[in-house]
Subunit: 291 residues, 2 copies
């Protein structure tokens, strides 16, 4: 069993990005610039955005944080998005989700110029990814593909089961795994799947994105399988200072001995998700996807 080290891989990628940015600056180019819109003061959102800003600093990106209070109107938010769409200094930007209930998220996401949509949530990016055209791929699927590639995991002709069909993880993951670059035979399982145990136990590559802590037991995993655990659920814990710890969808201690490769939680997919946003921002700055 080999542990897939997301922390180390993310660190490697950040070093590569930093080097590329230094090259751009040395050639007289513009510093890549990520902007983030944060509405309200949700604790989770605050800390996610803080990480993103910190990550930008670490690789030499410029970053901007734009704050709105919870009572911001849709019109105000759309005006700011229009401003960022037209600001040549901003290469990419994100609107941290969730938004307050009075603001329809899809209207906001579709207002972002897809060429600056480094979260990859705009329908044009989703559609182009599905069609197989260059596109910004959302962070978690992008990060998982990077892990699979960098660990040299064979995917062609393999049975891949993706548990979960969310729009930001399960669905794009299943599409990417079954496209020609990866060539896996992909099954999407979900809450309505019958015989989930058998479906999972048939997987050479099992990607779990349920958000149900330790749901995947050893009897649901094939001997020698590759297991990618996307779940990160906070559970109360007396062992940590914060009073909680992160648990994956996989009962790690029981499942790991059966696997050829497995991602831990934390330290697997999570750090890769963070680094994907940096990769997309660099792709936006260098115009590698859209000119």
């Amino acid at each position: 069993m080999q542990l897939i080290d997301g922390n180390q891989t993310a660190k490697d990628i950040k070093a590569e990005i930093k080097q590329q940015v230094e090259g751009i600056i040395a050639r007289g180019g513009k510093q890549p610039h990520l902007a983030a819109i944060l509405v309200g003061h949700d604790g989770g959102s605050e800390s996610y955005v803080a990480y993103k800003i910190k990550d930008c600093e670490a690789v030499g990106f410029k970053s901007s944080l734009i704050r709105f209070e919870d009572d911001v109107t849709e019109t105000e938010l759309l005006a700011k998005i229009e401003e960022l769409n037209n600001d040549d200094d901003v290469d990419g930007f994100i609107v941290q989700l969730p938004l307050p209930r009075h603001i329809p998220e899809n209207n906001i996401l579709e207002a972002i110029n897809y060429k600056k949509d480094v979260d990859g949530f705009h329908p044009v990016n989703v559609g182009r990814m599905v069609i197989g055209l260059p596109a910004f791929v959302s962070a978690t699927p992008y990060g998982i593909v990077e892990l699979i590639k960098r660990y040299g995991i064979e995917t062609s002709g393999k049975n891949c089961v993706v548990v979960g069909r969310s729009q930001i993880v399960g669905r794009p993951m299943s599409v990417l795994m079954s496209q020609k670059e990866m060539n896996a035979t992909v099954t999407v399982a979900h809450s309505r799947t019958k015989n989930l145990k058998e479906v999972c136990a048939n997987a050479d590559i099992l990607i779990c994105a349920l958000g149900s802590p330790e749901f995947i037991k050893a009897n649901m995993v094939k001997e020698g399988a590759v297991v990618i655990d996307v779940g990160t659920t906070r559970v109360p814990s007396q062992e940590t200072k914060s009073g909680f710890r992160l648990k994956g969808d996989v009962l790690f201690d029981e499942v790991a001995p059966k696997c050829s490769y497995i991602t831990p939680v934390p330290g697997g997919v999570g750090p890769m998700t963070r680094v994907s946003l940096l990769q997309n921002t660099l792709l936006a700055a260098t115009k590698e996807i859209y000119s």
Copy 2:
């Protein structure tokens, strides 16, 4: 075994559309209007477009055929698209594919206003369909979903195998079948799939979109399965006046007795594909998807 009669279902839907159009006209509304751009004189394209025009007449739509010669430039084509995008009388339009090699198809498809993209090929429509937002769904998947619904075929929790991952059939079909409306557990199989026989034989619902005549044999089909045959390959025949006949992906005579439901070729998915374009045009005219 029940035969799924695509001809009859398409006829029913056309009658429904005709009635709706009569209602619109009676209320003083505008006649729905489909325009088609045809480049060159490819025999297949000529006859497909002729069918589309004829179908429009049958349901009371206005139709326009815009022809260009093979040597049309991309600029000329884009200018015409822009004109149709801005023509309030045109509710929806299509550009018949394939285009001559010197014209990049994706540039053309992306230039169509997605609100008039009744073929459902624009990335916005593909992306919105994947995200689960209202969208124009491309003709063949739309037609298959209609057949499944109108025949009352249970899909929730069923194992559905889609053989083929094309952008216009296999891929969207697999997404639609696994979304909440259908709730099937979907596997996408393709040319690189190992043990294709076993994968197919595990399907409660088998959707074949390979384009390989009579490839699916009885030993690849589960007893009681629903089989949807999307394949339509022209093979030479001495029995027909035209000198060819259409064959599906399924060896019908051998497979049919095992099925609970099966679509024939011709007369199954084909007529539904034709009628889907009319349905999308009506949805465009009535602004049910985009206002």
